[in-house]
């Protein structure tokens, strides 16, 4: 278990890896990777047990996941440089055939949550104690398939399914609240039968606590699937990327990347 302070230091380092990896690739999605890296770090480094599974439904944020996997020793640091390059296991969006630890192949919005539900259902049939975690996006929540799963997971009483919504309010064409508003998002999920937690998405104490609460709900015989709404900042950690829609899906130049890395190392 890492302390919040240790996690703050680790995610500083992982943010620089994300920037470096995307810069080396020459393309990718810095904004949404930086908004979810704190959540992914707590989840993988602190919360997940060996047989738990994680599905990154918002597949474009995969540089954040590659960074965490590398930190855990599941990917060599050197390999991060192969992101998006020919013959790499690190495809631009998750490919579970090339890299099984990814759990599913995603990148087409709205799909990964259904897959996570299927794994959770499989665990339930076999009476396995393991959990399934799934990260979805707020832009992604505009997909109809998300709401098909929002409807079905409570029916199957999947308390072993914990979904985190990376609510960074950004998508390619603008702010989620302008493009196609999803609020009031907690009310929606609650009314579908989920146990909903609403937390600031870069506060390590709160993230740790939310996962602890989710685990307790399951272990105490809860029957509802769990949604953690994490209020995040797109591009978090790099001042000139924060809440800037243009940083959704472009790579920084080497010079801009250097500035970003300097800033991360200085401030965190």
């Amino acid at each position: 278990m890492y302390t919040p302070q240790e996690l703050r230091n680790i995610t500083k380092e992982l943010r620089t890896w994300i920037i470096e990896m995307i810069t080396e690739a020459g393309s990718g999605h810095p904004g949404g990777s930086l908004s979810c890296i704190d959540i992914l770090s707590v989840l993988w480094l602190n919360e997940m047990k060996e047989k738990d599974r994680f599905i990154l439904s918002k597949g474009h944020a995969v540089p954040a996941l590659y960074a965490v996997l590398s930190k855990m020793g599941l990917l060599a640091k050197e390999e991060l440089k192969t992101l998006r390059k020919i013959n790499s296991r690190l495809q631009g969006h998750p490919d579970r055939v090339r890299l099984p630890v990814l759990g599913a192949s995603t990148g087409s919005m709205g799909q990964g949550l259904s897959v996570a539900q299927g794994i959770a259902l499989g665990f339930k049939i076999d009476k396995k104690p393991d959990s399934v975690f799934c990260l979805i996006g707020d832009g992604e929540s505009q997909e109809g398939q998300i709401w098909e799963t929002a409807l079905s997971a409570p029916k199957f009483k999947l308390s072993n399914l914990c979904v985190i919504l990376d609510n960074n309010n950004g998508q390619i064409d603008g702010y989620v609240s302008d493009v196609m508003p999803i609020e009031p998002i907690t009310d929606k999920w609650r009314s579908f039968g989920w146990h909903v937690l609403d937390i600031p998405g870069h506060d390590f104490e709160k993230i740790i606590k939310a996962f602890q609460d989710a685990r307790q709900l399951k272990e105490n015989g809860g029957t509802k699937p769990i949604l953690i709404v994490a209020r995040t900042i797109k591009g978090k950690g790099v001042s000139f990327m924060e809440n800037q829609i243009d940083w959704h899906g472009i790579a920084p130049t080497k010079e801009v990347a250097r500035k970003a890395v300097e800033e991360i190392e200085k401030n965190g």
Binding site: R53, D95, R96, V97, G103, A104, S105, T106, G107, S108, G110, Q111, G112, L113, S114, V115, A116, Q117, G118, I119, A120, L121, G122, F123, I125, D126, G144, Q145, E148, T149, L151, S152, F156
Partner: protein
């Protein structure tokens, strides 16, 4: 016994469920029609009613496969393959070991009309890398394919089934050879090869019998695998004929006729190919017999087409 291939599937998978506890079934509010209800009654804990939400069903099935299950997911072929992107990414790209079962294939469903007819499902599924695409011609062949899909096939596969009853055609005692063309009717000095799939095979047999009475000898073969397609067998027999005719209750764009055209394109010389099926148009309401006739692949339309070609080419 003559049955709809959906019925044969429902009975076969319920039997196999006893021996293979990893088999689970998902359905999207059509279990009475797809005949997955037989399994559901027998194994209620391994049947998942997903409601009218096919995309979620496909993704959930992929997840179940990743948790070690062997999911069969059932709906009408058009509704299932209509959720193409979910099949493409969650299931096929991810190499989920799942079996998509699309019933109510083709014009053969009759009165319900175009929106309920799987007419492009084979083309769509064939376009996906590694996807197996299978279509039995009768109840016996359905049993054999379902068993094959449980015991041998690895990776995603699509099984196309009919609403309507199909006559028994599978040769008595014949050992099943997966993914191979099968001879159904042999005649001496044949002019044409009638190659059918699914409901097209019984029409081909009917056509061959009528042609035989008129002194025109033909052979009938069937293709239960549209992918992988048995090009090797086709290459070895096609030179015996003046004409090859494909018969399918499906669009001729991307189905069996296209499989044969692709195989022929690899040969320096091959017989002409006549692709009977739905001619790049929409389905419609009517009785199956009326529709097969109007769209040109009933037994008597096969006769007319073969004679027209042979007369013209003489």
């Amino acid at each position: 016994m003559a049955k709809a291939t959906r019925q044969a599937f429902g009975e076969a998978i319920a039997r196999l469920g006893e021996k293979y506890p990893e088999i689970v079934i998902l359905d999207a509010d059509l279990s009475k029609s797809t005949k997955s209800d037989i399994f559901a009654k027998k194994f209620p804990d391994r049947f998942f009613e997903m409601g009218i939400a096919e995309a979620n069903m496909i993704g959930t099935a992929a997840g179940l496969a990743f948790a070690g299950k062997l999911p069969f997911l059932c709906s009408f072929g058009c509704f299932l393959t209509g959720r193409y992107d979910t099949i493409r990414i969650s299931a096929v790209y991810a190499q989920a070991n799942i079996r998509l079962v699309g019933t109510h294939a083709g014009l053969g469903i009759g009165e319900d009309g175009h929106s309920q007819m799987g007419l492009e499902d084979v083309s769509l599924m064939r376009a996906l890398p590694t996807m197996g695409v299978f279509q039995p011609m009768d109840s016996k062949e359905t049993e054999l394919i379902v068993k094959f899909l449980v015991e041998e096939w690895k990776g995603p596969a699509y099984l196309r089934l009919t609403r309507q009853t199909l006559p028994d055609l599978y040769p008595e005692g014949k050992v099943f050879e997966p993914c191979k063309l099968l001879s159904i009717l042999e005649n001496k000095n044949p002019k044409a090869l009638l190659l059918g799939t699914g409901a097209g095979v019984s029409e081909a047999v009917g056509g061959a019998e009528m042609l035989s009475k008129q002194g025109i000898s033909t052979c009938v073969w069937s293709a239960h695998a549209l992918k992988p397609f048995d090009e090797k067998s086709l290459h070895s027999i096609c030179h015996l004929f003046e004409l090859v005719v494909t018969i399918e209750d499906h669009t001729v764009v991307g189905g069996l006729g296209t499989c044969v055209a692709e195989a022929f394109a690899k040969l320096n010389k091959h017989p002409p190919l006549l692709k009977l099926g739905v001619q790049d148009t929409f389905g419609e309401s009517g009785t199956p017999a009326e529709l097969f006739s109007k769209h040109g692949f009933s037994a008597s339309e096969i006769v007319k087409n073969v004679k027209r070609f042979l007369n013209g080419s003489v």
